[in-house]
Point group: C2
Chain length 374, copies 2
């Protein structure tokens, strides 16, 4: 199946936004729904039936169209843009990751989403030397036509954005694009909006919370062909970003440090696990050139072709549902195993899983696995 | 061929010392000579003939027996010991390296040569943090029954020996064992003689010179199952030690550092080349335990069996000599290629190469290669 992206209508964009904001519709479910149905409107119409067949009592109701239209109006006032997956404006490297965000809101130069991006992240509580080096890396790699992506946090991230302001930088926020955080970085935020790009998958007006950060980090790495980690403790968000980058098939780079410096623990541990030991800009460029700046993970975009089945199986489909339910448990099982063990067609397995997920019966786990909700 | 070491007579030890001190007899030639002849005395007798057939005009004369006896008397006065290769007292890991020193002189506890040894080396111009960490590594690994080997230089080496004084440490000197260097380390030297071991392959009374240090470094790594490098610039002796350790099949460990610290360049470059990134004692122990503290290089000791040919080929051997000479040039060629290309028996090739080497016609190169002297 070749992946096809088109220029979507404003109506379809709004519907995709609406679908993405519906309870129980996460990035994977969103992708699965759009792989089955022709468009978001059809998918939205199918939701109540799907969730009922999965065993849900209360109907699954998408948020009202009006509320979303208001949010889009507010976005237009800000000068921002809605970019939905499947649209040609959606960045391909990000579309390729497992849990690609269904929608992005952007503020600034959206063209940057189509340049070659490279992530640099690190400690909030960074050393002066680390800040200096971060700025140099950002400036130097920026000069090599790489757009530098980071999270606009204190410390390393701040130095990174500042270093790359003139060549192009993308700040991925954990809250809405109109909610810069931390407040001390509001001037930096304004400069990025003016000269670079601010991106988020969150609704406008949402302030970032701790649980948002890991989700945000997958976008930093997902946009990037590689990620460099500088100064990070073992339990830091930067390390999460690096692990996600590796899972996404992106190259991971790390600046080593002395064992007596706790901020070296993270990068050193990444190097021990196979990250590229990085001392200079050339260390990064050598690897990227070797790899021809590739996008290595398999393309898992939304496939608009072939057209969806007009009629989905209903009552006569019950034995299929039962066969799949029987193979599920509270222990996560790979979907591939479900297909094999149940003897059910892959497309039908996906349909049943969608129903169960929308009904809140099952949850997705990393590695394309599912389990009953505990 | 199994390698056999025995307890050698005092006479044979003196002869081996004499053979090792003969002009043009380096470690490899020494080993080849003793692989051909039954003992050092026979080899010494064969030297003039061998070198003449190789084309040497002036006869090759070993140093007088009396001079060496005087040196041994002086060694006994110091309380030192002569250990020659082939003797059971010679450390096996060191005997296994390509250019194993034919003799060692020792001062202190020679038993340490038969314990499991681990080398730690680093910058003379070390940081305070580096010195502290070096001492901790030495103390901690010493507590795990590893004898800590180093070069008694300023900086890291000094901290290493001090840290391991109570558990066992070996200082390998670049000059004679009676010539401690640098002079500020004379008190440390005296402590090592009392509680540890001082080792050198150099004659008594020889002060170390710059060219001696790389040769000395191969003994540090040769004695050790692994070598840890801490703080070293890219052109440092510590890096030579590490490269030699890798060539000898020993595990190389390196403590990383921040790119802005020039003393981190060496270890970081080693890690990039495959050395174990090391932050703690456990990082070393984990690897050594995994490998069961092995001696990984092939045993290339002196083989006293089978007995040597009573009569070496002479005049009738000329066509063989010619065949080998024809394959030699000023570009180093692997001896294996010479054997293959000349069609001459391997033992005969070795004999002809010995003759040429003793005559000063050819030189040995790393990787078991030879070339005409330029």
């Amino acid at each position: 199946m070749t992946s096809i992206t088109t220029s979507l209508s404003e109506q379809e964009k709004l519907n995709r936004l609406r679908l993405s904001r519906t309870e129980r519709v996460g990035p994977v479910t969103f992708r699965d729904l759009l792989n089955i149905y022709a468009d978001a409107e059809t998918a939205l119409e199918a939701l109540p039936g799907l969730s009922r067949r999965g065993g849900r009592k209360k109907p699954l109701v998408p948020p009202p169209r009006e509320a979303l239209q208001q949010e889009l109006d507010r976005l237009a006032e800000l000068g921002g843009e809605l970019i939905v997956i499947g649209d040609e404006k959606y960045p391909k490297p990000l579309a390729a990751i497992d849990s690609a965000p269904p929608i992005l809101m952007t503020l600034g130069w959206t063209e940057l989403l189509h340049s070659r991006c490279f992530g640099i992240v690190g400690a909030r509580n960074a050393s002066a030397a680390g800040m200096k080096l971060a700025g140099e890396f950002a400036r130097g790699l920026g000069a090599q036509d790489l757009t530098i992506v980071s999270g606009m946090a204190r410390g390393i991230d701040t130095a990174v954005h500042r270093g790359a302001l003139e060549t192009g930088t993308i700040a991925v926020l954990a809250g809405g694009i109109d909610e810069p955080y931390p407040s001390e970085n509001i001037p930096l935020y304004e400069e990025i909006v003016e000269k670079g790009l601010v991106v988020s998958e969150m609704p406008l007006g949402i302030q970032p919370q701790a649980r948002h950060f890991p989700r945000r980090n997958r976008i930093i790495s997902g946009l990037s062909c590689g990620v460099l980690v500088m100064e990070a403790t073992l339990r830091s968000g930067s390390l999460i970003t690096a692990r996600q980058a590796a899972e996404q098939g992106r190259e991971v780079f790390a600046v080593p440090g002395h064992p007596l410096d706790p901020r070296a623990r993270g990068p050193n541990s990444l190097i021990r696990d196979g990250a590229q030991l990085t001392e200079s800009i050339d260390d990064v460029l050598d690897i990227l050139i070797q790899q021809n700046l590739p996008l290595r993970s398999s393309q898992r975009e939304i496939h608009l072709q072939p057209p969806p089945p007009a009629d989905l199986p209903h009552a006569s489909f019950d034995s299929t549902r039962l066969a799949i339910r029987e193979k599920l448990s509270h222990t996560a099982v790979p979907i591939d195993d479900l297909i094999r063990l149940s003897g059910v067609d892959a497309a039908d397995v996906q349909t049943v899983l969608l129903e169960l997920e929308l009904a809140g019966e099952i949850v997705r786990h990393p590695g394309n696995r599912v389990a009953f909700v505990k």
